[in-house]
Symmetry: C2
Amino acid sequence: MINVAILGFGVVGCGVAEVLKINSESIAHRAGQEIKVKWILDIRDFPDSPYADILTKNADDVFNDDSVDIVVETIGGVTFAADFTRRALMSGKSVVTSNKELVATQGPELLQLAKENGVSYLFEASVGGGIPIIRPLNQCLAANEINGITGILNGTTNYILTHMKKDGKSFEEALKEAQKNGYAEQNPTADVEGHDTCRKLAILSSIAYNEYVNPENIYTEGITKITTDDMKYAEAIDSVIKLIAISRKVNGKIFTRVSPAIISKEHPLANVEDVFNAIVVKGNAIGDAMFYGRGAGKMPTASAVVADIIDIAKHPDFGTNNVWVRNNDNNILAIGDSMSKFLVVVEAGNIEEAKKDICTVFDQELKFVEIGSKNNQFAFITPVVVEKELKSNISRLKELNSIDSVLNAIRIEEE
Amino acid sequence: MINVAILGFGVVGCGVAEVLKINSESIAHRAGQEIKVKWILDIRDFPDSPYADILTKNADDVFNDDSVDIVVETIGGVTFAADFTRRALMSGKSVVTSNKELVATQGPELLQLAKENGVSYLFEASVGGGIPIIRPLNQCLAANEINGITGILNGTTNYILTHMKKDGKSFEEALKEAQKNGYAEQNPTADVEGHDTCRKLAILSSIAYNEYVNPENIYTEGITKITTDDMKYAEAIDSVIKLIAISRKVNGKIFTRVSPAIISKEHPLANVEDVFNAIVVKGNAIGDAMFYGRGAGKMPTASAVVADIIDIAKHPDFGTNNVWVRNNDNNILAIGDSMSKFLVVVEAGNIEEAKKDICTVFDQELKFVEIGSKNNQFAFITPVVVEKELKSNISRLKELNSIDSVLNAIRIEEE
């Protein structure tokens, strides 16, 4: 029998207890032994909980109990969660978590600590909710050199963008709808500014390239500046706008970016709608493989946590050997040095003159895009350019008499 | 160091040697030790092969070599492959294979033999080529009761259907194109009649329900009767036709079926085009998760074989405990007792009279579908009916004076 302690009895922690209960038989079959929840730690009172007899507010109950094999950390954040995770690992207990912030920021040290103590630190639930992605990267695609990841990793922003496109809603209206339906927090910053996606991309990239990628070094841009006009320009070139997390291994350097991007309707990520997430992994043998499903939610996330528990139950040495080395940051390609294609939206009094001037600035013929509803607006598509050069070209455009303003510049992602 | 012997130096066998070579460094890192190809067994001569010094025609070289830990069976078929697999397992060597026919037909006995000898019999590459699906079912989704699988499991038929739809080609024309491009065999029966899909569905279902599903008990219908008109009817209801493998756990019984089916363009499988495969797994905690990628090809398939090798290298007891029990066949729901919705295409001289008669036979108002190009043809959509009742209703339709013929009846899959 394996004894588990759940730290933090919120949505996910509660889901873990529930999954272990409703699927206990098949889980025991797969794990080769029964898995029992021995303790649930939370500072709150749950007087009517069916788990009343195993609820405790005293962390010592958990850490001094030698019969506890696995600690589930579903507290979130990086204060208590970090302390408890360290304490668990140091007392020889494996830790399973859904805490992306902690993994993304302190992963190298926690994995090292796990290794030193001969236990596991697993976090399948930290990215993509229930979608199996960490384990496929570590195991199923182990025969591949991974050279790229492209993903939709945040359900809130994908819901907002989906409804901006489908219902012609503004960002603010779609955000309100998402909040009303429980898909966005009252303070939505971490989602809409891309921070949540950034942490998840840091975790995936660290696994893919066997090298720690610090979220602080990932260029991150949210979706707050995307307008319904931008959506129409994308539609006009048979494309959609998504919040895309991307990372690539380019000439030994790692390039990572979180930003809104225009992708063709033929792209496998284009049909990922509402709160769904999907991740495309590029391997040198497999080519592209995609993983798709609900990126959040109580039961999907809990099912990923429990999959980690089962793996430890089956193979006590599972994942004891994973380490991320915290390098200096020279392995990250600066955003300014990266290459992209852009759709740039401009406002101009004299459209024809503005187009001629833009071609002069870019020193070549460009493709222009118009949407019926706007007389003084159009967009153009740049060639693939180094980003800092684009920035300087946009500054030059702003100085032109023919151009009133540059409204937006959105990357076009073709891979 | 782990020593591997490859039996059968065809496309996949050759790919395995290649993947182990080009990614040797990262594979050794992930496996925790070097993986070396010690022998390659094939009856053919490969005089110019760089592997000349390890090629042998004598199986004893492999089986009498105690240093060989893992045997890769990429022979195919069920004669030599079965004998060699047994011999390997009985001599304490784990076996890794891409041979779906052997796994689907003799899986229970081979898994049992592996267990008795304390070794593994792994077959990630047998379904979905490089797409990780066996391991996710066994591990990542281990916390779930799996209650359904829906998939596009065969690249050849998906390529044919894609080009029938996109280019308006007939089945025969699209098949010829597929053959010309190397996506269909000269004898395409196993693919176009659905047998290949059937075997893969048997394997996935056996894993999902912890109970052996014999491919002989899976109702299987190929795509040879699908016409370009059928494609147009599907288009008229915003749908596409795919060769769909489906299995469900319904009231303790297993329902499985391989057949062409109409799916809405909103269905996650609708955009799986050309030779790509995808599998949707329905779990009671995770909801729907989808796995997508190249379902065949040398390097993707080889990468799945090598992932199995790495797992055995890391955990010598990996998968030693999987068994499939060969039940009597009463656990399979007969196709006639299953429920489906159909689109039925009919030919009639007097369209209005025919429609009236059809509603009488089905005893309710029905939805009719027309495509511009055909004056004497239309389709109707049935409610969800027990299949044997539909069959008897279609017999009744054929006897009606108002109906000249029933051209096709295609299932509509909504889940």
